[in-house]
């Protein structure tokens, strides 16, 4: 019905013309419009453009509505002429209507425009139809009338003005209402409308009967089955056999009304979504791609004062001058928009800048929207700064985890890579030294012994370094079981005795046999005690070394006393630190690594014990450590799966414990 409506806009102000055009588009009118500014253009357009309706500004510099109206009345009287004006005095308004204008609309009441246009066109068309019908009717032949009557697409009812009873109805109205022609002739106006609407219907009917109005729009009409549809009813009078009847033309507007309702609901839905969405939603229009709307979330995101302020920007104005890829925001934004226009949509990352200057990273979704004749771009913007930050954190955490993983794998590989060649070197030297590759003379023996001593030293150093690294990174697993501390003393004594007596020193063992078994990692404590005793031997030239154990409060207390050179007061605090050897050259010769005490410290600490030293220069030193009686439970080695029946679980456990070096 609104197909390709041609609207002529006579308006000198570009802004006003734009506002009008926008209003027409918003109203969903399918139309083409043309704008003219002067009389000449107007005349030309009347002929060539042949508008269906004219919208004319009242006062223009060179031309005015009354002038235009005069021209139209003369040459195109059927064409509706609507005056659109800024301020217009009431008399002036009435005058224009008197002059023949169809309607007038105030520029600040443009909401009225579309309905006015619609109505004007409808009346014009119907007026045309009616004129047509009257012409035909006035030919007065009943057959001709009947042909028209019967074949009209519109439903036609002929009604008695007073009784409101139906005289006749055409096929179309019968179909519309669901009655047969015979049934129609027994009905009246009151029968074909919903009861609740009857007062209004009757009022309108009487106006039509009096000729006061012709068109009643969107009247609810009730079918035989009770269902309702909406119709525009246009009326005029008709004389049949000397009696004057009212004839009504019914056009079903339900579909259009539904569409309008749907549009309104969907507009309402869109509006509520627009307002309440947490995502920033906005629209941009060509050709300048300025923002034409922005929801509350947008205002918040860009930290502008309100929507009005937002509309003063283009997208690149709310972005830094350059995007991260080096392209200018201006050019790139236009390209992104054009892609969206071409392809229908475009999704991409974008760096925006808020009104206060803060830059932020965003996901942008552009969609092309067509609304009638108008095409614009709909945009959703999501601030992903937080998201990116979290991703960054996760990535860092993963990287850190990977780094820790790598470090521990590094430790394993290093230990393997360092130890394997050492094994080969040691064995090679041993084989020769033992004469298994031929006789060895004294000098060869001497040289090889030195080499062997150093491979041992290297081995100890590797062990210490790896131990220390393991302890420090918390990766050293302790095998805590109930153990006898005195057994530890015995073991260390056995190992160290030869070394001591070789120097002319005695090791004296003084253990308390009543000490119960307590929980500790035997091998590690052996390592600690060995370290202390070996230091004692190293730094003692004469006298003896005493290892004593006793029970004290809630702990076992072990002391290693020597009669050696002692430790200077200022060196005492450095004792348990890494790589602090107190006497460089001598220590190196003695094969120390500088890590022994540091490792012992860590081991004792891991057992929640204490380790310390007392010393007097020239007299000797005493190294103490304690292990608490109650220790936290540590995991044991898991169950053993024995495939081979010959080896029992106990065998393995024992064997493994014994063989661990």
């Amino acid at each position: 019905m609104d197909k390709e409506m041609r609207i002529l806009i006579v308006e000198d102000s570009a802004v006003d013309a734009e506002l009008i055009a926008r209003e027409l588009a918003k109203g969903g009118l399918a139309h083409t419009s043309k704008r003219v500014k002067s009389k000449d253009e107007f005349l030309k357009a009347l002929g060539e453009f042949a508008p269906d309706v004219i919208l004319c500004d009242y006062k223009m510099p060179s031309f005015s509505a009354p002038e235009a109206l005069e021209i139209v009345k003369k040459s195109y009287p059927e064409t509706p002429f609507i005056v659109v004006s800024g301020t217009i005095g009431e008399d002036v308004a009435i005058d224009t209507i008197k002059l023949g204008a169809t309607d007038y609309i105030l520029k600040d009441r443009l909401g009225r425009l579309v309905p006015a246009v619609r109505r004007a066109l409808k009346e014009a068309r119907i007026a045309c139809d009616i004129k047509q019908l009257e012409r035909e009717l006035s030919l007065a032949k009943e057959e001709e009338f009947r042909v028209v009557f019967e074949n009209a697409v519109d439903g036609i009812l002929i009604v008695d003005k007073e009784s409101k009873k139906f005289y006749r109805g055409n096929d179309s109205i019968c179909r519309m209402l669901g009655y047969s022609p015979e049934e129609i002739e027994n009905l009246a106006v009151m029968d074909i409308h919903p009861e609740k609407d009857l007062p209004y219907v009757i009022k309108q009917f009487e106006k039509q009967a009096k000729g006061e109005i012709h068109l009643v729009e969107d009247l609810p009409v009730k079918r035989k089955d009770g269902s309702i549809f909406y119709a525009d009813i246009n009326s005029t009078t008709i004389a049949i056999a000397g009696k004057v009847y009212l004839i009504g033309f019914f056009r079903d507007t339900t579909k259009r009304k539904q569409a309008e309702d749907l549009l309104r609901t969907s507009e309402e839905k869109y509006r509520s979504l627009f307002v309440s969405s947490h995502d920033a939603i906005m629209t941009l229009e060509p050709p300048l791609w300025k923002f034409t709307s922005g929801n509350p979330a947008t205002v918040k995101m860009f930290k502008v004062k309100n929507e009005a302020e937002f509309l003063t920007y283009e997208p690149w104005k709310l972005s830094p001058e350059y995007q991260p890829d080096g392209r200018s925001s201006d050019a790139k934004a236009k390209e992104m928009i054009e892609t969206a226009m071409r392809k229908g949509s475009n999704f991409f990352d974008w760096t925006h800048k808020r009104a206060d200057g803060e830059e932020f990273l965003a996901n942008v979704l552009l969609s092309r929207v067509e609304q009638g004749e108008k095409v614009f771009v709909h945009a959703t913007v999501r601030d992903i700064t937080e998201q990116r930050r979290l991703e960054e954190e996760l990535r860092n955490a993963d990287e850190q985890k990977a780094a820790v993983e790598m470090k521990s794998r590094f430790t394993s590989m290093v230990s393997h890579e360092l130890r394997s060649p050492l094994g080969a070197i040691k064995e090679g030297i041993n084989l020769v030294l033992e004469g298994l590759a031929g006789d060895v003379n004294d000098e060869q023996k001497d040289l090889l012994s030195t080499a062997k001593r150093n491979t041992d030293r290297l081995g100890r150093l590797i062990n210490n370094v790896l131990d220390f690294q393991k302890i420090e990174s918390g990766k050293m697993g302790f095998d805590i079981r109930k153990n006898d501390i005195n057994e530890v003393v015995q073991e260390v004594n056995d190992t160290m005795r030869l070394l001591a007596t070789g120097k002319g020193l005695d090791i004296v063992v003084d253990t308390d046999h009543n000490i119960p078994k307590i929980r500790f990692d035997k091998d590690r404590i052996v390592q600690v005690l060995t370290n202390l005793v070996s230091n004692a031997v190293k730094y003692t030239e004469k006298g003896n070394i005493t290892i004593s154990t006793k029970q004290e409060d809630d702990a076992v207390h072990v002391i290693v006393r020597d009669t050696g050179i002692g430790i200077k007061a200022e060196d005492m605090e450095k004792l348990f630190q890494v790589f602090e050897q107190l006497d460089g050259a001598r220590d190196k010769k003695k094969g120390g690594t500088g890590l022994g005490l540091a490792i012992s410290n860590e081991i004792i600490l891991a057992h929640h014990g204490k380790i310390w030293a007392e010393s007097q220069v020239g007299k000797g030193s005493a190294f103490h450590f304690t292990i608490p009686m109650k220790l936290k439970e540590k995991k044991k080695i898991g169950e053993i799966l024995v495939e081979n029946g010959k080896i029992t679980e106990n065998d393995l456990k024992e064997a493994l414990n014994k063989q661990r070096q």
């Binding site: 394993s412 064995e427 697993g477 080695i637 070096q661």
Partner: protein, 123 residues
């Protein structure tokens, strides 16, 4: 009858040394240098004992052990593991896979030889 020991290790220098040591002690020694050779040598040679380097590249050691245990012809052969690792994780794995003992490199030859005798007697 000479007893055969198969040594599986990817370090040829180390293999040279330990083979010499073992031969001097009366053993016959065969060697395999990667996890692929390992199982095929084991099947061919049918040694009385296997010395296995656990930490071969690409995790070969533990894989070899699994393969040996899975093969009906080799699962009975006692295995002594040599490793540079002494951490609990590896120990547990080896125990689970049924090694007869393990040594950490660099090792004391004397103790290894004792152990070998132990294991072969018990067999």
């Amino acid at each position: 009858m000479a007893r055969t020991i198969l040594i599986i290790d990817d370090d040829p220098d180390w293999v040279q040394m330990i083979s010499k040591r073992l031969r001097v002690n009366g053993f016959q020694v065969e060697a395999a240098f990667d996890s692929i050779q390992a199982v095929s040598q084991a099947l061919k040679v049918k040694p009385d004992l296997i010395l296995l380097d656990i930490l071969m590249p690409a995790g070969g050691g533990v894989g070899v052990l699994e393969n040996l245990r899975a093969n009906v012809n080799t699962f009975n052969i006692p295995v002594i593991a040599l490793t540079a690792l002494s951490d609990k994780q590896t120990v547990e794995t080896m125990v689970e896979l049924g090694v007869s003992g393990y040594f950490v490199k660099p090792l004391e030859m004397v103790k290894l030889l004792e152990k070998i005798e132990d294991v072969l007697i018990k067999k």
